[in-house]
Every structure is written in C-alpha cells, then in structure tokens.
Symmetry: C2
C-alpha cells in the first residue's frame, strides 16, 4: 500500500505528519503553492505553501471560534467583512445568522476559493448566499479603500504573517480596520500560538499593534490540534463592547445554532489565559 | 550533523516527531522500556514504551493542572497519595504547600524514579522532602490495602491504560480510591484526550466508572502540545467539594505560589468544555 505522508515543520526541530490517501491536486497560483489531499485521520485538507489551512476533522473549532464570539457579544451585527477565509468556513458560520445583511469577503487568491468550492465542500458551501459579495483583491488595499464605519465586524481569517498574509499583521492594516468599523465595531484576528517562539513573537507584535489602536483589546484561546502546538489564539478588539462584560448568552442562544465547539461557557472561559500567555501579552505592551 | 528523530504515533495515521540531540539512556525494566533524550525544542525528556511522558518545555502545564485545582478547592488538604508520577513533577508541586503533612507516592517501577532523579532534575527534585514516602509497588494493590479514609487527595499520575497503567483505569481501582479517601476527599485522574478515537474511548470509559461512584464528578481540560492532539483532560471526582461552587481563589492565592500555567481564572475556565466533549461525556453516562 502507498505509504505517503504530509509533514509540516512546526519548528525546524518538531514535525507533525499526516498519512495521505491521495494528493489529488497541486498548483502554483500567482500568490502561493496550493495542495489538496485526502487523509485517513483528518479527511480532506489543503495547504498553502506547505502549511495546513483547514481539514474536515477540526475546521469546526477554528470557524466556531472566529465567528460566534463576536456575535454573542453584539448580536446586532449586520455588516461583516471577512478578509482571507478562502476555504469558505468563516462565511458558512456567518450566513447561519439570518439577520445579517451583508457579508463582504476579500480573498487575494481566487484559486483558493475556486478549489475549495470544488474540493472542500464541507467548508465552502455558502459562498452563493445572496448576502455574500466576493472580492478577489488584496485585503490591505480593500480596507484602505473601504468607506468609514461601513462594517460592524471584521474577521481576519488570514494565513501566517509570511507570504501573502504579511500585510494583514501591520499597523497600517489595523488602522484601516479601525476606520472601516462602525462605532460599536469588532475586529477578530489571528493571534497565532503562544507555544513555539516563532508564533509567540508574531502574537506579541500583532497584539501590541492592536492594543495601541482599540479601546478594548483581548485575546482568547482554543484547541486546534492541526495547527502548530494545538494551542491557538484569536484577538478580540473592539471600539465599545467587551467580550466578557457585554457577553449576551441568552440573546445568542435564541439564534438556536447548533455548534460543535463553541458554547456560552466556552465563550467566557476562552478569555482566561494561562499565566505564561498573560505574561507574554503584558511584555508586548 | 546527526539527523535523529523521535516519533510518536498519535494514531497509525498521525505522527509527532522531535529532533534529538542525544539518546543518552535506554533500558528495559521488568515493567517497560525506558528511554531518555535531549532535544532541541523540548529539552530533556523521557518515554515509556515509546510514549512521551514528560519534557522540560511543557511539563509545567501537566503538573500545575494535576496539583493546584484540588488545593484551590480544598486548601485544607493534609494527606496526599500520588499514584504513578515517577518523574517527580507532581510531588514537586505538592511539596510547595508547607501545610501538607504527608505525601505517599506509589510508583510500580523504581527505575523510572531513579532515572528521573539522575537525568530529569527539573521535575524530580523534591522526593527527598521529609514528608514524602516512596513505595515501589503496584498502585492498584496499594490502595486496596490502604486504610479507610487515610487520604484527603489522590492524584492518579499514570501512563495510558495500556501496559502497567491499565489497572489504574478499572472500577476496582476507583472503588478502592473512594474507600481510601476522607469524607471530603478528592480524586484527580487521567482522562486522556477527546480528539482521537482511541483516547476518547478511554476517556469515556474512565468517566463512566468514576461517575457511578463519586457524588461529584467533573472533567477539566488544558493545552499540552506534546501529548496526542495537545488537548488533554483530567477528571475531578469528589465526595463533597465541587471545584466551581467551592473554589477558593482568595485562600489559594494566600499560598503565594508562582505558577506558569495555572491561575484562578484558568481554574474555573478549564471546566468549561467544548460542546463535542460535553456530548462525549454525556454519551458515557
């Protein structure tokens, strides 16, 4: 039997490997290398420049946690901007809220979107929703051009700050996000992992830049085993609402959404961070 | 340069690998295969039958979480039994409480203890504390012979339920723990991981057995990247105290212990479980 393994170097001295059933698509887009696989343990998944993006086994964790925390803090969010998110999973979760009026999704690489629509139908299944507008542009440029206060929520569903995702971790980008957000706007963004040095450094830099701009800036964590260390963070930045003080579990539960990771206790709990993570975030101040 | 890797099969289709500086000790004891390594990313670590037990980078997570949750629920714990825990890390944490009177540690394999004392001095550094009594015996037999109500806290710091650790996941063992615990006694035990099928099955079985015996039976989670999936659980079973309702953060903080993972917010938060984990635990009822 074919003994084929995909390996990701979490660090040069630590590797995570997945046995592959089939490597069924590979191509280079103008932006990056795209590869699609079927695997025994994680189902179908894809990588960008060799880095795991989403797999059928645990994408629910990431997409639950990027979406529902903001909607349970401000259930009146109407206009949403998703930056990146080519696999469609974030839009899938956001379209579950029938009261949301507009979802703009800006993905630099159309090939990611098209290939996920073809091959990763578990995540990319709601891009045809009439509220969704797809833009194949640079997210950095898109928010620069966006009208002031045009979104209630911006979700930065980006790759790591290397390659095409790099601009989405800059002060300029966060400044434009702030400008494009309504007076009670919320920004959720990749905060990487606190465990390995490389991601921890990225996390600290991202956090400092956001903290300097937004009145409320917090960090929350979750378990996603296929990302380096399995210990992953998102940033929650906001002009008005605090994710704990303004958490509205009763209102969120009225939406009646069935979720596999997120729930109202996890919402609160995910903002409680281990001491070493709190210290890292304080160092970044 | 030597290109040497230690690999653990988290499942037959998923591997975690660590680059090794030196494989400096190997032996077979009457119970298992013991190997000690030095690594680039995780410092020194050891394996039993090829399974990662403890490494210098993240053992603090495991040892914080096995120890302090019980002491912050009942700060008057005086008599502690550690079953397993040959690396000494659990005893290290427990000896930090000066009011604790007695710590019995029962490890089936004396070689684990002796080699960790020699090679893993970061964890095995408090076994000489005068309150510590070492017993090289089968933990199953030890609790069977223990006098009724002789411990306020039992910490089951065991290997997985395969090999020498197997008996420490049986109904007979938990029944004897119950008998050996004082009227306000607490039992903390390995609950494995909810992520991969094998560990999830072990978790469900362990949970059902304990739930049938103890009036209070909860599960809490933490991030430990070098265990399969990085998403790990302990069980908290108790005759009297609930880890949330009876949590005493002010009393615990008076102990003045500096911890790198555990803190009073993490205490509460770690009992909030993702929906898929809650459902697994309910299935086991």
């Amino acid at each position: 039997m074919l003994n084929l393994w995909f390996t990701e170097e979490w660090t040069p001295e630590c590797r995570f490997s997945i046995k592959i059933k089939e490597h069924f698509h590979t191509e280079k887009s103008p932006f990056q290398q795209l590869d699609f696989f079927d695997s025994y343990e994680f189902g179908k998944f894809f990588t960008l420049d060799g880095i795991m993006m989403a797999n059928e086994k645990d994408e629910f964790v990431y997409h639950d946690m990027i979406s529902h925390v903001a909607l349970a803090t401000n259930p009146n969010i109407k206009k949403v901007l998703v930056i990146g998110g080519g696999d469609g999973g974030t839009v899938r979760e956001i379209t579950r809220y029938s009261h949301i009026e507009k979802i703009d999704m800006v993905e630099i690489d159309e090939r990611v979107v098209r290939l996920c629509q073809k091959y990763l139908v578990q995540t990319s299944c709601k891009l045809e929703d009439p509220r969704v507008n797809l833009y194949f542009q640079d997210g950095l440029k898109f928010v620069e051009d966006a009208k002031e206060k045009s979104y209630d929520l911006i979700l930065v569903d980006s790759t790591d700050p290397i390659g095409p995702g790099e601009g989405l971790f800059t002060k300029k980008f966060y400044t434009n996000c702030f400008r494009a957000l309504s007076e009670d706007g919320i920004l959720i963004n990749q905060h990487e992992s606190p465990y390995f040095d490389k991601e921890a450094g990225q996390m600290k830099r991202a956090h400092k830049r956001i903290k300097d701009l937004f009145p409320i800036s917090k960090v929350y964590q979750f378990h996603i085993p296929t990302y380096p260390s399995g210990h992953w963070l998102f940033g929650f930045a906001s002009k008005k609402y605090d994710p704990i003080a303004d958490h509205k579990p009763e209102e969120w539960e009225k939406f009646g959404l069935k979720t596999k990771y997120y729930n109202s206790e996890i919402h609160k709990a995910s903002f409680a961070l281990p001491t070493f993570v709190k210290e890292m975030l304080e160092e970044s101040e």
